[in-house]
Symmetry: C2
Subunit: 404 residues, 2 copies
């Protein structure tokens, strides 16, 4: 997506754009060349098995769409209140309180047009232009660009494959002086790791010691296969310095509806409402009504949405345990597997290109998500079970061939 920074006009003069936006991708490769190549092959008529993007192989359930339509026909088509509807804010607050034990009311909640809007708003709210914002590598692809787009300076904290990419608090603390915020994501995209209680407590302590805002991206919180999701907002002293990002995208297969939320201290939410008045002006009311309905379906529905990933992850664990070349980073949550293919002697990127060329299977190189997951590939568990099993078998066989 890199384009050049200046726009020629008719006189050969160029109109300059702000460095903040021309530099949003950081100027380097964005690591998605394998993805673009796969899409180009598909556009040219080839059949490619895509294990790249974090999107369900089902669509939004019809009853949710029926409720959306009912609300729209009933007239909920005008400007919705910028903070979100009272009903949805109350529903989110009750859900968060029930799951974390932290007292939460609608005043702690703003509805956003998706989780990405929450990531941008929280960084804009916490960081002044030029402030340092910390994030953990490997990271979801938009993180550094979101920080740059908000005018802040991204500072990455590396992790280690042999520690399952759980960040060390000492590494965070080393970069904390002078920083304003820390962004974490558990269950994690791209690694599939769920941060342990010890990891989260270490993170919380660094935030308290160094007076950081903690921005906690919890959009995979309904997809936990091992252990328990710990929301750091529930740790001692953290409720007033934590901004939690939530979303209906992954939990309810509503990626395209663009509806999520930020939960945090009341006064920060008040300012985030002011910001939303000037950045998005709210979320469609009929979508919020649909989100309310979807949340009212309860845990069973969320487990149903998560079930295919849980099944495929069990299948993958069994398959990978039976061979020697590919390693599996503990797959504790989210819809991804992070596979260690270093035994092939290849980078993740070289392996991914090779796999695409030989088997028309597209995966994401670990290098797409920073440097910590070099020599790995991320496999999205987002195609039906049989095809997924066959594709993963091919991935393992290809790695074994290369490792020779």
């Amino acid at each position: 997506m890199a384009v050049c920074a200046r726009t020629p006009d008719r006189k050969g003069h160029t109109m300059q754009l702000s460095h903040r936006i021309t530099n949003i991708t950081g100027g380097g490769s964005d690591g998605w060349q394998v993805f673009y190549k796969a899409r180009a092959m598909m556009a040219a008529g080839e059949t490619v098995i895509e294990l790249t993007i974090g999107e369900h192989d089902i669509r939004t359930a019809a009853p949710i769409l029926q409720e959306m339509h009912r609300a729209a026909l009933a007239g909920h088509t005008g400007y919705a209140a910028v903070p979100g509807t009272t009903a949805l804010r109350d529903t989110v607050a009750a859900r968060v309180q029930a799951r974390t034990g932290v007292p939460t009311t609608r005043d702690n909640v703003i509805i956003t047009p998706g989780g990405q809007a929450g990531l941008f708003a929280t960084h804009t709210a916490t960081c002044a232009p030029g402030d340092t914002a910390l994030y953990i590598d490997p990271y979801y692809a938009t993180y550094p660009g979101t920080i740059r787009g908000a005018g802040a300076v991204p500072q990455v904290i590396r992790t280690r494959a042999d520690e399952a990419f759980q960040p060390r608090s000492a590494d965070i603390a080393a970069h904390a002086p002078g920083a304003r915020s820390l962004l974490v994501n558990s269950p994690n995209n791209p690694t599939g790791v769920v941060y342990s209680r010890a990891t989260m407590e270490g993170i919380a302590q660094v935030c308290i010691d160094h007076d950081l805002w903690l921005i906690s991206d919890e959009v995979y919180d309904t997809q936990v296969w091992e252990g328990a999701h710990i929301s750091p907002r529930a740790l001692p002293g953290m409720a007033d310095r934590t901004l939690v990002i939530g979303s209906m995208s992954k939990s309810h297969a509503m990626t395209g509806s663009r509806v999520g939320w930020i939960v945090g201290p009341q006064e920060a939410i008040g300012h985030l409402i002011n910001l939303a008045t000037h950045t998005t002006y709210g979320v469609p009311g009929f979508i919020q009504d649909a989100a309310c309905f979807a949340l009212s379906q309860g845990d069973a529905f969320e487990q149903e949405i998560a079930a295919p990933f849980k099944r495929r992850r069990a299948m993958a664990q069994k398959m990978i345990a039976g061979q020697n070349t590919v390693g599996l980073i503990p797959a504790q949550g989210a819809m991804y597997l992070m596979l260690d293919i270093r035994a092939t002697g290849m980078t993740g990127e070289a392996f991914a290109f090779d796999l695409l060329e030989h088997h028309k299977i597209a995966v994401m190189p670990g290098e797409s998500f920073g440097t910590s997951a070099a020599g790995h590939i991320r496999v999205a568990m987002t195609i039906e079970d049989g095809a997924f099993e066959a594709a993963l078998r091919t991935v393992c066989a290809h790695a074994e061939t290369l490792a020779g």
Copy 2:
């Protein structure tokens, strides 16, 4: 909406937010006290005639909502492409080209979640933090906050009631040195004025002379009662320095659907797509399909949506011509009337409070939109004809009583 800037935590310590967000409303009164008072009266059970907000007295048409539902049920519920669907980008490009004569393709278009998102994105794209962004007074309420939210410094250009609030190019030029952008809005909210060709040509010349980006908010372009809407992008030398904000909100009574666009130079749009990847991650596909359908209904449908305002404006012109106290700023477009009530000796704000107290009619003080429209009130023509006529008659009678 002003809230204080710091969030207390459990230790009595305060978590600081960025000045950019705590200062977004500029720290002063936001001028909406009359509106809030009216809403409070309504919440307490009183009947208030609201002539405050720019929202139709109809809802989004059922066929548009049916198309939205059809698209959703057909499976358009996953992530849509961040730039917008090809179909909607093509439709917007063809529409803009047909109406302005400027060659326009999908590469000149990004779909945004509403016009406000376009205002924020264009200022973020053109202005670095600390850069000066110009805008015209009277202004739509979010303009200065949008500029501040983007980290830029708002600089207002005043206009004069006796020149129908058409900006003088010399006034803009006086503030142009060192500025990066100029935001204009014709047809204008709050004044109802449509900028003349001479005004637009003057604006274009200042932008060329001082190398400014022109951000042209044209969301009322289907509501023109006198003269013609001139898109400054169509003026010589302007296509490569103009970013046009469009929206389905006013033209198709789709305020709550949050769908609009930015039209501009291809490379600027490329960067705006990068920004959108990090701020909103696209617009629901089913809403874009509904927007495509709505645009395909053509001019007749748009005239039908605009017709009530045209009727009420004619009614108002006739009524106001028949009395001596209230003056009408030339009502050339948009869904508002700007009434000069200076003959009462009151400020717009004092008059509006008095009107609310005595007659339970809520209008916006001119002072809500800057300083140039002091001594005026803005009347939204957004209630049914009979009630509108009666309310306007009461407004005039009240002014005459005060002018006594």
